[in-house]
């Protein structure tokens, strides 16, 4: 992350988009948005627009990848060529391959993999527009898509980043803050189990700052978790007035 002298936090302590340091961007979540997928979800977080879809459990192809005692989870995180300022080649980049791996590893602990031996679940994440924090928003959406597909899970996985800009620890970094801020700490959490399933960091933080950032990110995860549950209810709990 290159540091520039640009001010990211104004005199009132507000960020470029007017948020307080511990405030999330506006989030919109919708579950069950794709008719062909076994489960799906759509999330908007700031200017992020991300679709996640689940296909499976299904037979594994190629067959030799199947495991006798559990199912395998496969994940593809992909960015649309038009999702960023300069066109991104649609071929998977090294970044996308790494993110596919860490997103898969963030979701795996939540799933009862042993319930479906010899099968596979495919998680497809398409970033339609990127605005910083796409891996976290992808995890948030993908875990809802898994729930929508009826996959038995220990908990939902909620994800959110915290970081440091202009010497302040802030929640949910947007694109500019991510690019020119001092540090970025994406975290994914299974809130009911207090289990961190994704943790990365780049930038520079002291031990104390790191602890603050992790705690703030966890707080963000819990807020997002509440929104995830609302989105699931909106899809499945249909309260109808009973007319006598």
């Amino acid at each position: 992350m290159s540091q520039k002298s640009e001010k990211l936090i104004d005199k009132k302590g507000l960020r470029l988009d007017g948020r307080k340091p511990n405030e999330l961007r506006p989030i919109k979540i919708e579950v069950g948005v794709l008719s062909n997928a076994d489960g799906s979800a759509y999330i908007e977080q700031g200017k992020n627009k991300i679709l996640a879809a689940i296909y499976g459990p299904k037979e594994v192809h190629p067959k030799h990848l199947a495991l006798p005692d559990r199912m395998i989870l496969r994940c593809r995180y992909h960015m649309a060529p038009f999702s960023v300022q300069e066109r991104k080649s649609p071929a998977p980049s090294r970044r996308e391959i790494e993110l596919s791996k860490v997103i898969r590893e963030a979701l795996e602990p939540a799933i009862f993999l042993e319930y479906y031996p010899r099968t596979a679940i495919d998680v497809f994440v398409e970033v339609l527009q990127a605005d910083g924090g796409t891996r976290c928003a992808s995890i948030t959406a993908a875990s809802l898509a898994l729930a929508d597909a009826g996959i038995p899970m220990k908990d939902l996985v909620a994800a959110c980043a915290a970081g440091k800009v202009d010497d302040t620890i802030v929640l949910d970094l947007m694109d500019t803050e991510d690019k020119i801020g001092a540090a970025d700490v994406p975290v994914a959490l299974m809130p009911n189990l207090d289990a961190i399933t994704l943790l990365q960091m780049d930038g520079t933080l002291s031990l104390e700052e790191f602890e603050q950032a992790v705690n703030l990110a966890l707080e963000g995860c819990r807020k997002i978790y509440a929104m995830q549950k609302e989105a699931l209810k909106a899809r499945y709990v249909n309260v109808k007035e009973v007319e006598e």
């Binding site: 290159s2 391959i97 790494e98 791996k101 860490v102 207090d194 289990a195 960091m201 520079t204 031990l207």
Partner: protein
């Protein structure tokens, strides 16, 4: 990677660790023996071999003249690549880099890049046009676990050993002169990896421990103890308490290694 050790041994490893012991006799936060050799490949601008127990990683650096990125016109470029060479393990296969080697390269890259270990502004020849590009190629020669720490250490050792060609600009052309100057390195990021086994944190897991572990976490710290890169891996989880504990131990262990190597 499928498990190649018996369930009896898996259980043995896990049960010992629950009692604070390890199969190879180490303490939970003890590294295997670390050996660093520098300048072993004459054709490379810098090189190093690191032995971490039986894990062996070689790193060679090459320096070329190339174009800077448009958002950093005054800075040199760092490119890290990792090869899981098939002769290093029965689980490595020839072919294009898989997700494991890409992750390895990117974690090594992150430690060096985020700590600003290399003084990138000193690699600029002509702003916006010509800069030195540093290629760091990680070559895993024997896989006995904890490739991340061994590779990060070998990469840093190779960079410390890297020579930059002298040059002068004549009529807008870059001319390479004889002689070399050392690559400007101002920080020594050290990466410390933990495996979570039986709810305990274990430093520097060897291969069999990696096959038992639920998850791993790698933390890179700078000379002043600040954290500069973290990567969690594996399909398990950590509690917030474990994460903070790991960060603390990583800082201590990194200092120990720096002291031992006189960096």
């Amino acid at each position: 990677m499928s498990s190649m050790i018996t369930r009896v041994k898996q259980k043995q490893i896990a049960q010992l660790i629950a009692k604070g012991k390890r199969l190879d006799g180490r303490a939970l936060t003890e590294y295997r023996e670390i050996k660093v050799e520098q300048g072993i490949i004459e054709r490379a601008e810098g090189s190093a071999r690191v032995l971490l127990g039986k894990t062996e990683v070689m790193v060679g650096t090459k320096i070329e003249i190339g174009q800077p990125f448009s958002d950093t016109p005054n800075e040199g470029v760092l490119t890290v690549n990792a090869e899981l060479v098939p002769l290093a393990s029965p689980t490595f296969e020839p072919g294009p880099p898989d997700e494991n080697s890409i992750e390895l390269a990117r974690v090594v890259d992150r430690g060096i890049r985020e700590s600003k270990a290399i003084e990138f502004d000193k690699l600029c020849i002509e702003p916006g046009k010509k800069v030195f590009v540093v290629f760091v190629d990680v070559y895993v020669l024997n896989h006995d676990g904890n490739l991340i720490d061994a590779s990060a250490l070998a990469a840093l050792a190779a960079l410390l050993n890297t020579k930059m060609p002298n040059y002068e600009i004549e009529d807008g052309e870059v001319k390479i002169k004889s002689g070399y100057t050392p690559l400007p390195i101002k920080k020594h990021p050290i990466t410390v990896t933990f495996a979570k086994i039986n709810d305990k944190l274990v430093v520097d897991p060897w291969l069999e421990e990696e096959q038992v572990m639920e998850a791993r976490i790698s933390i890179a710290t700078e000379d002043d103890g600040n954290i500069c890169a973290i990567q969690k891996g594996g399909s398990g989880y950590f509690t917030p308490k474990q994460v903070l504990e790991a960060a603390k131990i990583a800082k201590e262990k990194a200092q120990e290694i720096r002291k031992k190597l006189n960096w």
